[in-house]
């Protein structure tokens, strides 16, 4: 098991290098630059800015400086001037300064916005699991009854309503018309300490009030996916021989389903939860822009339009790491869910 995990983590390295290189090439292939404005800077100023961030270097040198640091560039090229640079390279945890928000480093931006997105994302994953799995179980156990049909319809319905639709409609109905929930303010208003932790005194009501709409808008599609998968696989598993054996032993129907069938049928569910987790925790542009959340999701879009090379590479790498780790967790959990799975 340990060797398996170590091998998998070593396998991350080529993927992350590939992602870095690919993103770097793609974003640099796009015409325009981070300092281009509507009016246009005087050429001298532009040249100075570019020199300051090493954007006047040849591409391979920039990539080297970005990934391994300026001192490595100095060694490789034998150019002592490179030592004046400050880039220490992502290999040493330095993602550089943002080219658009020039007073902040990429790490600063990530560390202020990720907690907000991550908390919202975790709540949404929780929501998806808490509502999705029971809905799927009930639908499967009452197959071809009205319970099954309405659960299935509900799942397809929420699968078909994109959050582009859900977010504005929920704001309109629940906060503007009915006034039950605040329109926006997750992660910024008083109930959050340090920008995201709920303060103890008014924890219960306010925290959930602010979270309700964005979490619902974010999580329903995932809950629908989870419910459909749970139903589908449970229906297959329940016909297997070992379930018949369990029933023949005279086990209670509830323990047959929960102990024997459910654990096995969760494997596909857990498989989709990996990517869902990575996507929700790193923030969603749509939800954040509708609910005015200062999260990480907007940087995935804005860093491209701003040509903020360092920020884009930073958030992309972060997302890839989340995805890889989440998928590793998924694979590890297989062994627990299905005793037949062995790692070697």
């Amino acid at each position: 098991m340990t060797t398996y995990i170590i091998r998998r983590i070593l396998g991350f390295i080529p993927v992350l290098i590939g992602v870095t290189l690919f993103t770097f090439v793609l974003i640099r292939a796009i015409p325009g630059g981070p300092f281009q404005t509507e009016k246009g800077l005087p050429p001298e100023v532009m040249a100075n800015r570019n020199a300051q961030y090493h954007l006047d270097w040849p591409m391979w040198k920039q990539f080297l400086s970005y990934t391994l640091g300026d001192d490595v560039v100095a060694v490789v090229t034998g150019d002592p001037e490179a030592l004046n640079g400050t880039a220490r390279g992502i290999i040493r945890g330095d993602f550089g300064m943002s080219l658009k928000f020039r007073s902040q480093s990429v790490m600063d931006i990530i560390s202020t916005t990720l907690p907000i997105s991550a908390q919202l994302g975790l709540l949404s994953v929780l929501f998806a699991v808490i509502f999705g799995i029971p809905l799927g179980i009930v639908a499967a156990l009452r197959q071809n009854t009205w319970i099954d049909y309405s659960a299935t319809f509900l799942a397809v319905f929420f699968l078909s309503v994109s959050n582009i639709v859900l977010a504005p409609l929920m704001i309109w109905i629940f906060s503007l018309t009915l006034g039950w929930f605040p329109v926006a303010g997750w992660g910024s208003k008083p109930p959050f300490m340090l920008g995201f932790l709920p303060t103890p005194n008014e924890w219960n009501v306010k925290y959930l009030q602010y979270a309700a709409l964005p979490v619902f808008a974010l999580a329903t599609a995932s809950a629908a996916v989870v419910a459909r998968l749970t139903r589908g696989t449970l229906l297959q598993v329940i016909r297997e021989d070992y379930i018949r054996t369990a029933r023949a032993k005279g086990l209670h129907e509830r323990s047959v389903v929960i102990v024997h069938a459910l654990k096995n049928s969760l494997i596909p569910v857990v498989t989709v939860l990996g990517p869902i987790f990575a996507a929700l925790v790193t923030g969603t542009f749509i939800i954040e822009s509708f609910f005015g959340i200062n999260g990480l999701g907007k940087h995935f879009v804005q860093s491209v339009t701003n040509r903020d090379y360092t920020l884009l590479l930073g958030v992309t790498l972060l997302y890839s790491v989340f995805l890889l780790v989440a998928n590793l967790m998924v694979d590890i959990s297989y062994a627990w869910l299905d005793p037949r799975v062995r790692f070697d």
């Binding site: 793609l26 015409p31 504005p168 890839s320």
Partner: protein, 337 residues
């Protein structure tokens, strides 16, 4: 012993009309009411948006602005607006579903916007179906180290954040198109501009979506490759390409079409998302994503402007989901028991 071949009906033997696998599936699909209704809805939407809207005068011009009736609301829709809306909204019954902030007819824009969503749905799914199926077919049929290599490539590409790649590609295409280009790319830019920015969206969406299909296609090929009918085809001297395209392909196409139909809502969402963030079709081409993003700013005063494209977007994806589910049940009836 020579027996004259009698048609089944005359011979007195009760037989059922012979049906191929595909006819059998179609027959099952026809019995699924929800799927049939969905299909009819999609056909009507295609007909209205591709034929009625551009070639007749049934709908108004979706681009023409009438600033004297900006944010116009028909009388019957007033109940959707907050109290006191009569004081700020222009009431104009000429617009059945109202007009947007530039006085453009919302009904016309919604119907024309359907064209964008539907063409993305159809073209992107076709392109990724073709690429994915061929890739999987070659990989699975070749087997061995070719298969290993081709699947490693897919695994590797799978690790990329799909949405970021689409955004990057669209940003690249758009910036290139603004800059102007020559040769083949310039020709593509011209096509793209004449389609209101759709062409590059097809490319971007299709290029990142064939991976899943390639995997499924390969898996299907592997399960079919060892079957007797393939061996039979080989033994009568069929070439590899004949076996792959004439024998295996028809047998694996069913599940692939089901998978692709169920992927269509995702393509429609991607289009709406890209248009929402300003990297989709070029304004003033109407698209549901653009309509929602423009109207969302005024949702407090004019919720109807969000509601209409939102309803159309949701019903269309719902229809594709129901159709996909129906196709799946039709092709694999064992799941339904």
């Amino acid at each position: 012993m020579a027996v004259a071949e009698l048609p089944a009906a005359e011979s007195g033997i009760v037989t059922r009309k012979e049906r191929s696998l595909w006819q059998e599936s179609l027959h099952r699909l026809r019995k699924n009411k929800v799927a049939v209704v969905s299909l009819i809805f999609i056909i009507i939407l295609v007909f209205t948006s591709f034929i009625v809207a551009p070639f007749t005068n049934v709908f108004k011009d979706p681009i023409a602005q009438d600033l004297s009736s900006n944010n116009a609301v028909p009388e019957w829709m007033l109940f959707l607006l907050p109290e006191g809306a009569e004081n700020y909204a222009t009431i104009n019954n000429d617009y059945i579903l109202g007009a947007d902030h530039l006085g453009r007819d919302i009904l016309a824009r919604t119907i024309h916007g359907a064209r964008i969503s539907l063409s993305v749905a159809i073209v992107a799914s076709m392109v990724s179906l073709v690429i994915g199926t061929i890739y999987g077919l070659v990989s699975g049929y070749a087997g061995g180290s070719t298969d290993g290599f081709m699947m490693r490539v897919v695994d590797f590409l799978y690790a990329f954040p799909f949405l970021i790649v689409v955004i990057l590609m669209q940003a690249f295409f758009k910036a290139q198109a603004r800059q102007g280009a020559e040769g083949l790319f310039g020709w593509m830019v011209n096509i793209n501009n004449s389609m209101g920015g759709l062409f590059f969206m097809f490319i971007a969406i299709a290029l990142v979506n064939w991976l899943g299909l390639a995997r499924i296609s390969r898996g299907q090929v592997l399960s079919q490759k060892k079957k007797e009918y393939v061996e039979a085809a080989h033994s009568i001297g069929a070439t590899d390409s004949t076996v792959a395209t004439r024998h295996i392909l028809p047998n694996i196409l069913g599940p692939l079409i089901v998978y692709e139909t169920l992927a269509i809502p995702g393509y429609i969402f991607t289009e709406a998302f890209l248009s929402f963030i300003g990297l989709g079709v070029d304004p003033p081409t109407p698209s549901w994503g653009i309509m929602i993003s423009e109207a969302a700013k005024g949702i407090r005063s004019f919720p109807n402007q969000v509601l209409i494209p939102a309803i159309f977007l949701s019903i269309t994806t719902l229809a594709f989901n129901f159709l996909g589910d129906g196709l799946r049940d039709a092709f694999d009836p064992r799941l339904k028991e």
